[in-house]
């Protein structure tokens, strides 16, 4: 294929600005799918993606478009994940493109992810085509959005396309702009092969299916290839592209995008960002590969101990398809045997939890998410600890550093006050404060990641009544005066409830957490004290009074069955709880830690 007639592009947008709808419309217009085959949002095919409206895994689709210049172009639409947890995958997808459609909602305007994505695209030297979507909405203010684009992103207002992906208005112009404005890919077909992996997923029959963009050289069936990160060699079994139906191809040349099947067992062996080279004449790998590191950690435990094996198998299956997901066995005195899991972020964690429940019908208890701390001991050792229960004793700690993020928040000016307050409370350091327009403000803050994983996003949404948008990236480590807060229930430390927080917040959080636990743990046959402690010093205490009434009085006319059923119901309820010492603790209690620091608490 002559690269002259190839265009590789992606669509980037803030969540809900209409990326998937535009993608669907492009597919429909180019005849990739007939109207009849269109189900809403074809690209978001996983059940969860559809429900949440978020693209989790990127896919790319090959389209044929006969442009007004009379030529037929091959357009590769590379889909990108739409959430900050997956920003590395976004950046890899961008590397596979020469241009990007920057979609902005005409009524919402520029949001945090719009800016973050636009910056990212600029870093990759992509040609940006601003697309103002949803102009059919009564609240659409395309002129205002144009101004924002100029002011915030320095994108000329005249370049912006006005469309409605929903009605189809202006979408044809988008295709024309892709052809005219985005440069064709370059690359020598005879040079040694270099192909960028920008996505991979697991197919139960074929193993890892790898999406690549060929930068130079050629991929052909039976070629022996090498993956640079692992140095493993494979033979190409099959090449193809999605139209969106999979189509087999005889070759992928420079600038082309497609999938490779090469008997690769799991996605962890074909990492996103890695380079495929020819085994016989290996070229230098493309720059920018990073093994993705989990940022958020939590324990996952089966509710019923006998589901441990099932949980392990399920996690193994999930990992086949999700190289960013990490797990290893751990055990907790409170929760028994389970797994320490690492995630890219909170959304990623929720997705894994939901998939366990939905696809594997497993009930799991998730402990409060934690980040990875860097602890220097008094003996000079440096430890990385992602589980509060593994914190060394306080007197052996010389210093603790915690991961810091740079957060970009875009909001309307009337919620700025509340957001500043929230950021301060979350130990943020302001880096920038900028008016994007008289009514819109962009804030840049450095924040500890552990404050973000608690409930920052929910609270940001709530104080801004849903308007504020957030994007963030890791920005290194910062020393902080952190302490481990232990929770004792019935006099016993419940390891799974331990949390790390700043010393100044320990008292308030301790009180709040024990207050929440008092409400979540049902009354038992005896009085149960709940305490929060730093080391051996108790800083907060509440008491659950003993249960007073739990007896079925009537056995009417010899109806023993009814009695037995009631007792069975109570036994079932008890089984869903975890027993620590003598106390039965319901699953929700383990999530109470998550909610600590929220203003909605009644404690």
């Amino acid at each position: 294929m002559d690269p002259q007639f190839i265009r590789n592009f992606c669509i980037i947008a803030h969540i809900d600005h209409g990326k998937s709808t535009l993608a669907d419309r492009l597919l429909e217009l180019t005849g990739a799918l007939s109207q009849r085959e269109m189900t809403a949002q074809v690209l978001d095919s996983m059940e969860l993606e559809r429900e949440r409206g978020i693209t989790i895994k990127a896919k790319s689709i090959r389209l044929h478009y006969r442009a007004r210049d009379g030529h037929t172009y091959l357009l590769n639409l590379i889909d990108t994940p739409g959430h900050v947890d997956f920003s590395y995958e976004v950046s890899r997808a961008l590397s596979a493109c020469e241009g990007a459609l920057l979609v902005v909602d005409a009524s919402q305007g520029v949001e945090a992810q719009t800016v973050a994505n636009a910056f990212l695209a600029a870093q990759h030297q992509l040609t940006l085509i601003p697309v103002i979507n949803k102009i059919d909405l009564p609240a659409a203010q395309p002129e205002l959005v144009k101004e924002q684009l100029e002011q915030v992103l320095a994108l000329p207002a005249a370049d912006a396309l006005l469309i409605s992906a929903k009605t189809g208005q202006g979408v044809e112009e988008v295709l024309e702009a892709v052809v005219r404005r985005i440069p064709p890919p370059a690359g020598d077909p005879d040079a040694p092969l270099r192909a960028l992996i920008f996505d991979s997923w697991f197919d139960p029959y074929r193993g890892a299916v790898v999406q690549v963009r060929v930068q130079q050289g050629r991929l052909v069936p039976h070629l022996r290839i090498r993956l640079c990160a692992t140095q493993q060699e494979y033979e190409v079994e099959e090449l193809g592209a999605f139209t969106p139906k999979p189509v087999r191809l005889a070759e992928l040349g420079p600038g082309e995008v497609g999938f490779v099947i090469a008997n690769i067992k799991q996605v962890a062996d074909a990492r996103v960002g890695d380079t495929i080279v020819e085994a016989a004449r290996p070229a230098e790998p493309l720059p920018g590969f990073q093994a993705i590191k989990p940022m958020v950690f939590a324990g996952l435990y089966p509710v019923q101990a006998d589901q441990y094996e099932e949980l392990r198998d399920a996690l193994a299956k999930l990992q086949l398809n999700d190289a960013a997901f990490f797990y290893e066995p751990e055990s907790s005195a409170a929760l028994g045997f389970g797994f320490r899991c690492g995630f890219l972020g909170l959304l990623h964690m929720e997705i894994v939890q939901e998939r366990l429940e939905r696809e594997f019908s497993l009930d799991v208890v998730t402990t409060a998410p934690s980040v990875r701390y860097r602890i220097t001991t008094t003996r000079g050792e440096v430890l990385e600890v992602d589980n509060p229960t593994r914190f060394p004793p306080p007197n052996t700690i010389a210093k603790i550093e915690e991961p810091i993020i740079t957060a970009m928040i875009i909001t309307s000016d009337d919620s700025v006050g509340a957001i500043l307050q929230l950021c301060e409370e979350k130990r943020g350091v302001q880096k920038n404060f900028e008016y994007l327009s008289p009514k819109r403000v962009m804030l840049t803050y450095e924040l500890p990641l552990n404050e973000i994983v608690l409930d920052f996003y929910d609270r940001l949404k709530s104080v801004s009544r849903g308007y504020a948008s957030l994007d963030y990236q890791l920005a290194g480590w910062r020393e902080a005066d952190l302490v481990k807060l232990d929770i004792l229930v019935g006099g016993e430390v419940v390891d799974a409830l331990a949390m790390v927080c700043h010393r100044d917040q320990a008292y308030a959080r301790g009180r709040e957490l024990v207050g929440r636990l008092r409400r979540l743990i049902p009354r038992q046959m005896f009085e149960v004290p709940i305490q929060a402690a730093i080391g051996s010093r108790v800083i907060a205490r509440e008491t659950i009074s003993a249960l007073r009434k739990n007896v079925l009085a009537k056995c009417y006319g010899g109806d023993v069955t009814r009695k037995r059923k009631l007792l069975e119901k109570q036994r079932e309820g008890k089984k869903r709880m975890k027993r620590v010492g003598r106390v039965d603790i319901p699953q929700e209690a383990f999530l109470a830690v998550l909610k600590v620091g929220s203003t909605d608490s009644e404690a």
Partner: protein, 412 residues
């Protein structure tokens, strides 16, 4: 062949009105249903052997002798004494009988001197009176048809015609009940010296109108005036103290029997314990006749369909509408022994149960004993007074110790 004592229960599911707290499948039905219903029950009693055989239920052996009859409801005292006599005659005609205790449930407002005399003549020797409370405001709010004065009138007539075994039901936790009104109710009850008392703590569940209102947080049926659980538990404990002091034997979680004569001795059982109800706790056989009646023959449990119309229709075709028929396996039998047995203050013979079912509860019992919920004395495992209001939690604990294998299996 030794004789086997058998209980007979007859269900009369008719009420004049439905009490707000009632979570049973009884209700208000047209009196035109009474006659066909009685006919159906008599039919069931008459043909129980054939009907049981068809339904897959073991037919009682020839050596079974009916020694207790309990006519419950509903409000069986709504039926005419002649109808009640017919039911008892049907039992007499089909079973060997040696009646020790024949109980009729009655609501105070349905009692009259004539009826009382006729009941007595029919062979009924015990009346279980649905007193519930002596406080008119509480009675009204609960949807009861009687008032305080009706209780006194009813007891007067019953005593007059010679009933020397009366049982009163009370409910702890009715709307508007206070510590003061509850103590007043207890004092009035004690003053009337019924031979037997049953006290039930109000159950809040979605099956009663009051329960549903409480759960929904509504004010219907005075749901907002229902005392909280701690208060109800307190009422119950108060009743325990007062009845004990008044000479009643607390022989089962909800039941007390008056100690008189030789049984005034604290260790001897009162002769006014309900012989029929003891069969439920002791897993002795009883056959239930009528819609929704439950039966246990020592091996199987079953119940008849609860809807009287369905029941009548099935019996008209000489079919027994059995549901929930189950054979009680060893595990289930053991569970029953525990949760039924421990309701009795005399508890269970631990060694005998462990030997019979080849299990040991040592660990669970030790744990519960150290928490003060059970005691073992003279080989009998009992709930302590402290555990009575939370018996379910203790029972669940013991039952779980069987299932999870925490109780060690004895070798052999």
């Amino acid at each position: 062949m030794a004789l086997m004592e058998l209980g007979v229960y007859i269900q009369v599911p008719f009420c004049q009105s439905k009490c707000t707290y009632c979570n049973f499948r009884t209700g208000v039905f047209s009196p035109s249903l009474y006659a066909p219903y009685l006919e159906a029950v008599c039919n069931e009693i008459r043909n129980h052997r054939t009907l049981y055989r068809q339904a897959g239920v073991d037919v009682p052996a020839d050596n079974w002798v009916v020694d207790t009859v309990y006519i419950g409801g509903g409000t069986p005292s709504l039926l005419t004494p002649e109808d009640l006599a017919r039911l008892l005659d049907a039992v007499r005609a089909q079973f060997q009988c040696c009646w020790r205790e024949v109980t009729l449930e009655a609501d105070p407002e349905t009692v009259s001197q004539e009826k009382a005399a006729a009941w007595r003549a029919a062979g009924i020797n015990r009346i279980s009176l649905g007193v519930q409370s002596f406080d008119d405001r509480e009675l009204r709010a609960a949807g009861r048809q009687h008032r305080r004065a009706d209780i006194f009138a009813a007891v007067g007539w019953l005593r007059e015609v010679g009933f020397d075994n009366l049982s009163f039901d009370l409910i702890a936790g009715l709307p508007h009940q206070t510590a003061a009104s509850w103590e007043a109710t207890l004092a009035e009850l004690i003053g009337l010296r019924p031979e037997h008392v049953s006290i039930y703590m109000l159950e809040i569940d979605e099956h009663s109108r009051l329960g549903a209102a409480v759960l929904a947080g509504s004010r219907k049926y005075s749901a907002d005036a229902v005392p909280d659980d701690d208060t109800i538990a307190e009422f119950y404990l108060c009743a325990c103290r007062q009845l004990e002091a008044a000479g009643y034997e607390h022989y089962e979680i909800s039941n007390w029997a008056l100690r008189v004569g030789a049984s005034r001795e604290p260790t001897a059982p009162s002769r006014f314990r309900s012989q029929h109800n003891l069969k439920y706790w002791r897993r002795r056989p009883y056959l239930g006749f009528g819609a929704g009646a439950h039966s246990f023959n020592g091996r199987q449990r079953w119940a008849n369909r609860h809807d009287p119309n369905d029941y009548v229709a099935a019996l008209a075709q000489n079919r027994l509408p059995v549901e929930q028929l189950e054979t009680i396996g060893r595990q289930q039998a053991l569970e029953e022994v525990i949760f039924l047995g421990l309701r009795q203050r005399e508890g269970i013979d631990l060694a005998a149960v462990e030997a019979e079912y080849n299990v040991s509860f040592t660990d669970a019992v030790k744990r519960l004993a150290s928490d003060g919920f059970v005691t073992v004395a003279e080989g009998r495992l009992r709930l302590t007074p402290a555990a009575l209001t939370t018996a379910n939690a203790v029972l669940v604990e013991l039952l779980d110790s069987i299932q999870s294998g925490r109780c060690t299996q004895v070798a052999g």
